[in-house]
C-alpha cells in the first residue's frame, strides 16, 4: 500500500493502512501523508482501553489519488491525556478535537476553542469514558426530580 511505503512502517488491516505512532512523531507523519495525496481528513476518533489504562486516538485520512484509507493511531495515558492540536494542517479537525475533549477529557494543546460543545452545564466526569456509570448518573439526576404535586381537582 502506498501509505505504508511512504512512512516505512505499519501494517495492512482489513484493506486499510494502519500506522502506529507516538505523540511526537504523529504530526510529522500526518503532514507527510497530506503532502503525498492523503489530503482528505475523514475524522478523528477516540477509544477508551480501560484495561490497559490508555486512550487510543485514531486519525482517519483518505486519498482520492490512491483510493486508500489510512489510520494513524496514537496511544495516550489515561491520566491527564494531552495531544498537540493539528488545526494548522486541517482546519476542520478543531471541531473533532472539541468533541473528544468534551466526551473523553483529552486536552489538545494549541486549540483555543475547547469550550463546551454539546453538553451544557456539565460538571461531572467526561461521559464517554468507560468508568462513567451512565445508568447510575441518570438515576441520580433525573429520577431525583420530583413529580408535579397536584392538588385535588376543583375544576380549574
Amino acid at each position: 500500500m502506498k501509505a505504508l511505503e511512504l512512512i516505512g512502517k505499519g501494517e495492512e488491516m482489513h484493506g486499510r493502512a494502519y500506522i502506529k505512532s507516538d505523540k511526537e512523531e504523529a504530526s510529522s507523519i500526518i503532514k507527510k501523508l497530506k503532502e503525498n495525496g492523503f489530503d482528505h481528513f475523514v475524522m478523528l476518533s477516540c477509544v477508551d482501553w480501560i484495561d490497559n489504562n490508555e486512550f487510543e486516538l485514531v486519525y482517519h485520512l483518505w486519498s482520492y489519488e490512491h483510493k486508500e484509507h489510512v489510520m494513524v493511531s496514537i496511544i495516550l495515558p489515561r491520566d491527564n491525556p494531552s495531544m498537540s492540536s493539528m488545526h494548522e494542517l486541517f482546519p476542520q479537525i478543531e471541531t473533532y478535537e472539541r468533541e473528544i475533549h468534551e466526551m473523553y477529557g483529552v486536552d489538545f494543546e494549541g486549540n483555543n476553542r475547547l469550550t463546551p460543545f454539546m453538553l451544557e452545564g456539565w460538571h461531572d466526569m467526561p461521559p464517554m469514558r468507560k468508568d462513567f456509570d451512565s445508568k447510575k448518573f441518570a438515576e441520580d439526576v433525573f429520577d431525583s426530580i420530583p413529580e408535579i404535586k397536584e392538588e385535588e381537582d376543583e375544576g380549574i
Binding site: 453538553l119 452545564g121 460538571h123 461521559p127 441518570a138 439526576v141 431525583s144 408535579i148
Partner: protein, 184 residues
C-alpha cells in the same frame, strides 16, 4: 370587560365558542426534537393530510397552538422547548410522541436525555409507539380535539397554576451538577 360578563353573552358560552373554534383550527409549531419528526411529513402531506382538520404547520411559536414533542428530548433541547412553549399564546397544548417522553424509552440510561416530559411541561396527550405510525399520530390529534371540545385539555392552566414546581424541575434538569454541589 362588560361584553363577556353576562351583559351580551355568558362567559361559559364565550368559552364554548372559543373551544369549538380552536378544536377545528389547531396550528402546530414546527419544532422537531427527535426521530418522530419523520412521521409528520406523511401526516402533513397528501397521504393523510391533516389540513382536513384545519391543522397546519406554523413557522413561529407566537402563531401556534400545539407543541409536538417528537421523540427523545435532551437537556439542551429542553431549554429551547421551554422557551418555545412559554412564547406560545394560551390556550396551548402539548402532544408527546412515542416511548421516550413517557419513561425514557431506549435512552432510559442516557446521561443527557430527560426521561419524563410531564415533570417539565404539562402534557395533554401521549401517543404510544417507537415511533407511532401516522395513523397513531392522527389518533392523537383527534383525541386532542375531543378533549378540547369537552374542555379537558387544560395543560396550560396547570402550567400557570403549578408554575413554581415546573420551574424548579426545569432548573434542576438544566444545571443538575451545580445544584447538587451547592446543596451538599
Amino acid at each position: 370587560m362588560g361584553l363577556f360578563d353576562g351583559d351580551i353573552m355568558k362567559y361559559e358560552d364565550w368559552n364554548k365558542i372559543s373551544r369549538i373554534a380552536s378544536r377545528k383550527s389547531l396550528w402546530m409549531v414546527h419544532f422537531c426534537t427527535g426521530c418522530g419528526a419523520i412521521e409528520l411529513p406523511p401526516v402533513m402531506t397528501s397521504r393523510y393530510d391533516m389540513e382536513r382538520f384545519g391543522m397546519g404547520p406554523m413557522a413561529t411559536p407566537r402563531q401556534a397552538d400545539v407543541l409536538l414533542i417528537t421523540g427523545y428530548l435532551t437537556v439542551k433541547t429542553l431549554k429551547r422547548v421551554v422557551n418555545v412553549y412559554e412564547q406560545m399564546q394560551s390556550p396551548k397544548y402539548v402532544i408527546s410522541f412515542g416511548s421516550c417522553p413517557i419513561n425514557g424509552g431506549m435512552y432510559w440510561d442516557s446521561y443527557n436525555t430527560v426521561k419524563r416530559l410531564d415533570r417539565y411541561l404539562p402534557v395533554d396527550v401521549y401517543v404510544g409507539g417507537c415511533m407511532p405510525r401516522p395513523e397513531g399520530v392522527m389518533n392523537a390529534f383527534l383525541e386532542l380535539m375531543k378533549l378540547i371540545d369537552e374542555g379537558k385539555a387544560r395543560g396550560w392552566e396547570k402550567y400557570q397554576k403549578y408554575y413554581e414546581q415546573y420551574k424548579r424541575n426545569q432548573k434542576m434538569a438544566f444545571n443538575f451538577e451545580r445544584e447538587k454541589d451547592e446543596g451538599a
